[in-house]
């Protein structure tokens, strides 16, 4: 989920007030036409778009979208775990090289929604947005309101490196599909990540431990780690309970197969009460018992730092973890990834299966002043040079196949690549409800904490989640989405 790289989005009262103020300004205070002004800007937007200087450039092989060479481009980057130097030092210079007459405006923020919501309401939108972080904008809602540009044109455009190939054929399988809303591509998911349990391979080697492959082994391991004075497994309940529900969902998907995740996203009746979910929740709740209660009140960086200090053995997270912790990690600490243990002997997917997904959505607003430029910017990101630069600056591997080949990989990335090879085609797919149905996701966070810290049983967890899913399904104000794969 794209929240992952996010920093906890603490918001101060002042920002809140400022935002309310902005909304009021946008809303056109004092005007008589309430209905028109409260949500105003819509009609003004069209005028702005047509008045923009981008009358359009000539379409050519090098410029498949016909970007106007002198049209300014505004790029908004979420400055979280990935930083923003990949944009300022790699992609933006590449864009300027292609269009020397264009000016590129760079905006970095940790709070995408607070920064951009008023601008969307007012019709003054940037041309490309890295929509990530805890305070990201709801892509589903943006799409429903016609604010997102469809990216079919991008995926069908020729690749910068090999004009004979389409862009869609240069990226990892599943990338385009991961960005579908309502069956059409709207999101360019850029970062290739894998989710699982992360540990310090040096610490494990020193203690003669191997990562557990089944939940029996997991429990035995927990006892061993506990005896050694190390917390066997922990996550941060205060702001990162979704790290834990990922594990529950991955285990459930391993038991039943990927269809479970598809059914959860489609709000299938009774899906949360299936045996696979129940078994997985019960298994993880057992592991939760080894975790000190105080972890519920800690934030992810607290817990991650403790792992770096050798106080926690296994930590559920995604492959951005190593980069996020770069400044905290001692030299001898070597990040490594292990898949979630198997719950039953009859699991549909083997132990080696990992959840891997394209994440970090990049979007082009439909009402941008220079949408063609936004598309071209994305195409540059998906070039070999753009992707390699991104990996070098942010330490994360992109969806562009083979772009990181030959780069000197960190221990974590090397382990990721090994896990990927071991998994082969056994890939646990994404969960779209995280972006589609924010309320359901919020409930899942809440109940995951209650389950993992022992306030509710696995049965109650399933019961409550089914109720939440039913509520979402019955809510006419939420537009339902559907996925088939």
């Amino acid at each position: 989920m794209s929240n992952s790289v996010g920093m906890p989005g603490d918001i101060t009262r002042r920002q809140m007030l400022r935002r309310i103020g902005l909304t009021a300004l946008v809303a056109g205070p004092g005007a008589g036409l309430l209905s028109a002004c409260a949500t105003g800007g819509g009609s003004g937007t069209a005028a702005t778009t047509s008045a923009a200087p981008s009358a359009g450039g000539a379409i050519s092989a090098a410029n498949p979208f016909g970007v106007a060479a002198d049209a300014p481009l505004e790029v908004v980057i979420f400055k979280g775990g990935l930083g923003d130097s990949y944009a300022t030092e790699v992609h933006e210079p590449l864009y300027k090289k292609a269009f020397p007459k264009a000016t590129v405006k760079h905006v970095a923020t940790q709070q995408i929604a607070q920064t951009l919501q008023p601008r969307f309401a007012g019709g003054d939108v940037p041309d490309m947005i890295a929509n990530s972080g805890t305070d990201l904008m709801d892509n589903g809602a943006l799409q429903q309101e016609g604010q997102l540009l469809e990216l079919t044109e991008l995926w069908d455009a020729p690749s910068i490196d090999d004009p004979a190939k389409k862009v869609r054929d240069t990226v990892a399988p599943g990338t385009v599909e991961s960005g579908l809303i309502d069956g059409k591509p709207y999101l360019m998911n850029y970062v290739f990540s894998a989710y699982g349990l992360w540990y310090d391979s040096a610490l494990f080697e020193k203690n003669g431990w191997t990562p557990p492959k089944t939940f029996e082994e997991f429990k035995a391991f927990c006892e061993k780690a506990k005896a050694a004075g190390i917390t066997p497994f922990a996550y941060a309940g205060k702001n990162a309970s979704y790290y834990a529900y990922w594990m529950i969902l991955i285990s459930a998907a391993k038991i039943e197969g990927n269809q479970l995740l598809v059914d959860i996203d489609n709000l299938a009746d009774g899906v949360w009460k299936r045996d696979s979910v129940k078994q997985s929740a019960a298994a993880w709740a057992e592991i939760g018992k080894y975790m000190d209660k105080s972890f519920e009140g800690l934030i992810h960086t607290d817990v991650q730092t403790r792992q770096n200090q050798g106080k926690i053995a296994l930590y559920p997270s995604g492959s951005w973890l190593e980069n996020e912790q770069k400044s905290q990690t001692p030299k001898e600490f070597k990040y490594a990834l292990t898949p979630t243990p198997s719950v039953t002997a009859a699991d549909k997917l083997p132990f080696e299966a990992i959840r891997a997904a394209a994440g970090e959505a990049y979007i082009v607003p439909a009402k941008a002043k220079n949408p063609k430029g936004g598309l071209e910017y994305l195409r540059i990101m998906l070039s070999r040079e753009g992707a390699r630069g991104f990996t070098e600056k942010s330490g994360n591997i992109t969806v562009v196949t083979g772009a990181a080949d030959g780069l000197d990989l960190s221990p974590g990335n090397a382990s990721l690549s090994a896990a990927q090879t071991a998994a082969g085609s056994n890939i646990v797919t994404r969960s779209d409800f995280e972006n589609w149905y924010k309320e359901l996701e919020t409930d899942l966070r809440k109940h995951t904490n209650a389950l993992m810290f022992g306030r509710i049983s696995a049965d109650e967890f399933c019961e409550k989640m089914q109720k939440a899913a039913d509520k979402t399904k019955a809510d006419s104000s939420i537009t339902k989405q559907n996925r088939t794969v």
Binding site: D10, I11, T12, R13, R14, M16, I20, G21, T23, A24, A27, P29, G30, L34, S35, C37, A38, T39, G40, G41, G42, S43, A113, Q114, Q117, F120, A121, D135, M137, D138, A141, L142, Q144, E145, G146, Q147, G237, K238, N239, S241, D292, K293, S294, E296, G297, L298, K438, E439, T442, R445, K446, N449, A450, F453, R455, S477
Partner: protein
């Protein structure tokens, strides 16, 4: 000259009234309208859906949890704050006995006044971050570190659903007390000295002075304090946002309406529904203020 005077008054009033209309009244009116729509916050075509948002509120579990928490906040927070503030301001102003015909506070009261007021000048976000460290649930937290020294197990201040809300109320009280000490001090200094003198001559002790003289004469000030604190009890957004588990948790045990409004609008993109919550909050606050002023009305004592 009548004409010129009106122009003078209007000249002064126009700017603030205009600002008030633009920045306070107009957003309120718009919120009432948006509450009747299904606006998602990003488009220009909200649909009018009548009272659907309000009927939805009736069986929204989280909404009612938040309302209950405001009830607790309303009962506990103003009461505790006022009692502590009254006690302190009495100590600071009147408990030192008479000195040269004037009532004075205990020794060092000027220093205490500064100390009490200090939390008030801190931004609420800073207070939040400060108390994150103070309340940290393991032995690295300030309170739990101290408890550990005397052999008491760490208390999950913010992670135990039974005490999380009280822990947050504690922070609100801590921050508010200083202001009300100053407010009550001002109130006490406006009580005529001869009243105290007369009482003291009749042999009234500190206890009698406080309950029979100070308190009744301070009634107006306390009424104001109660309304202010009550309105603050309908807020609590920033502290809950910064301090609580997963913003309002664990298990909804600390959530408050402003937080749910914020979440519904900015996370769930349901600006219409969020506005309906806002309208509900508006009426709760208004009702509370009106009730308080009405119920606590007493005859004013003219000095």
């Amino acid at each position: 000259m009548q004409h010129g005077r009106y122009r003078f008054i209007v000249g002064f009033l126009a700017a603030p009234v205009l600002l008030y209309v633009v920045f306070v009244i107009s957003p309120y009116v718009q919120a009432f309208y948006i509450a009747l729509t299904n606006w998602k916050g990003v488009s220009a075509n909200p649909q009018f859906i009548g009272l659907e948002n309000f009927s939805r509120l009736l069986d929204d579990e989280v909404f009612w949890a938040a309302v209950r928490h405001h009830g607790v906040l309303l009962l506990v927070m103003p009461l505790v704050t006022i009692v502590i503030a009254l006690f302190f301001s009495f100590l600071l102003n009147l408990s030192g006995g008479q000195k040269g015909g004037r009532m004075s506070g205990i020794w060092g009261s000027k220093v205490y006044r500064v100390i009490f007021f200090l939390p008030q000048v801190l931004a609420v976000a800073i207070v939040g971050v400060l108390f994150q460290t103070i309340y940290r649930p393991d032995e690295t937290g300030v309170i739990n570190g101290l408890l550990g020294k005397v052999g008491i197990d760490p208390v999950g201040w913010l992670i135990d659903p039974d005490i999380a809300l009280l822990a947050i109320i504690g922070v609100m009280v801590w921050q508010a007390v200083g202001f009300y000490v100053v407010l009550f001090s001002a109130g006490m200094s406006s009580i005529p000295k001869d009243v105290f003198e007369a009482a003291a001559l009749d042999g009234a002790g500190r206890y009698t002075l406080f309950f029979k003289i100070t308190l009744p004469l301070l009634w107006d000030t306390m009424q104001v304090a109660w309304v202010y604190l009550g309105i603050a009890a309908f807020d609590a957004f920033a502290l809950v946002q910064v301090l609580s588990v997963d913003r309002g948790g664990p298990d909804n045990s600390t959530t408050v309406l402003p937080l749910e409004i914020w979440r519904t609008a900015f996370n769930f993109s349901k600006f219409g529904y969020a506005s309906a919550m806002g309208v509900a909050l508006f009426f709760m606050t208004i009702t509370f203020a009106a009730l308080t002023l009405r119920v606590t009305r007493r005859e004013r004592i003219e000095f």
